[in-house]
Amino acid sequence: MKDVVSELLRDHIYKMAASGKRVDGRAPEEYREIKVRKGYAGNAEGSARVDLGETEVLVGVKMILGEPYPDRPKEGSIVTTMELIPMASPTFEAGPPREKAIELARVVDRGIRESKAIDLGKLCIIEGEKVWIVFIDVHVLDYGGNLFDASSFGALAALTNAVVPASKINGEDYPLEVEHHPISITATKIKDVIVFDASLDEDRVADARLTIATDENGHIRAMQKGLKGSFTLDEVDYVVKTARKLADEIRPKVVG
């Protein structure tokens, strides 16, 4: 569970960052290359394989017939799971979801759910009886830093790729409607310096993390501060502004 990270690495990364540079040559607000391959998993209703630099995630969307919650008879539901499979990193372990995976899954889930990217009402087939349950399963294949954004990109891309299998209920299959396109941007703070889209090494020495999802109108849809460090009010302001700018640049690559 613990990476033994030398203080040397931490100092090195910090010193470079403090002078506006990064170990891999990027600018502080620069994202790594984003590659999105939709429709990769043929047995899923929708899927996307996302490369974000050295990080690779595969997200599959499955749509299952089920019953609505008693208190929401006219709505389908969304379930997001995250497996940090041990393939992706020497330090992930198999087994029941641990804290880290749960936080990731819940932040991805809220990004989709609370932004109303999917209209749950449209997932209702027969009120109180039959609805679509949308499973968003995030499979991390290669962990090279910034899982929050890679997973969020993957979830949104897989949804925009999804087809509602209405033929199962004697209808005709049709594309799942995605109403909003929230893009998650994560700032990472090392001592007093902030960079975006942390690499693996930057993740390992990070003091604090702030993830902001903004939609196509520049509105804030989800936020999550993480790790043991803190942000000043000015830093929060800076991160929110930058997140809106970066989201607008990245959105087309994800939505396609």
């Binding site: 569970m1 613990k2 979801p97 804290e99 749960i102 936080e103 899954a105 819940r106 809220r110 990004g111 759910r113 609370e114 932004s115 109303k116 702030l210 939609d215 520049g218 509105h219 804030i220 849809r221 989800a222 936020m223 999550q224 501060k225 993480g226 790790l227 043991k228 460090g229 803190s230 942000f231 000043t232 009010l233 929060v236 302001d237 929110v240 502004k241 809106r244």
Partner: protein, 251 residues
Amino acid sequence: MEEGKLVNDKGIRVDGRRVDELRPIKLEAGVLNRADGSAYIEWGKNKVLAAVYGPREAHPRHRQDPARALVQCRYNMAPFSVSDRKRPGPDRRSVEISKVISEAFSHVVLREQFPRATVDVFMEVLQASAGTRCTALTVAAVALADAGIPMRDIISSCAFGKADGQVILDLDKAEDNEGQADVPIAIVPRTNEIVLLQMDGHITKEEFDSGLKMAVDACHRINEMQRDALRRRYSVTADTHEAVKAISEGV
């Protein structure tokens, strides 16, 4: 007031509060016998109890940090604390809340003083009514101080949000259910550093800015209540005089 309106034209909410007004808060330190520190809070209709054990040796040993103490928080809801009975034990939501609260306290506890140790913070939600994570964090901070755990400051927590298009402080249950956004934060009052920040919903940058200011102000008011509770506690137990002083002076 119009039917279904959460905030009326005069900026008054259903329960009579102004947009920047907190629900009533009652705080008491030192309420349990076994724990090293404890505190109890009633915040609106929330009732939360907090207990602190430690610093004590961390188990299992491979989880120990040779350089500093762990701060391990457990936020738990009693099965009967909510309208629909909750199954006992941690669910995914409480695991996440436990994690972000642990991280917030890790920032202020002087962890280097207790290598290999753990400080365990238990928060039991006995009655829940919107805003339990802020309530739990606020009462746990008092329990940590009551346990004499050295901290850089007593952190304070509060949420802001949006309902009927208005930015409001400290959402109650109806506002949480029907509102457009909920943004719990926690700060280090002395420095205004943000140690917890979550949000979901739909809010503009401008609304976020004004809400954040409102919540930071409220955290300072809450911090005063936290310190009052500790002063009341220590005026009773004179033998912990040093601890009081340390905390009031923010060593």
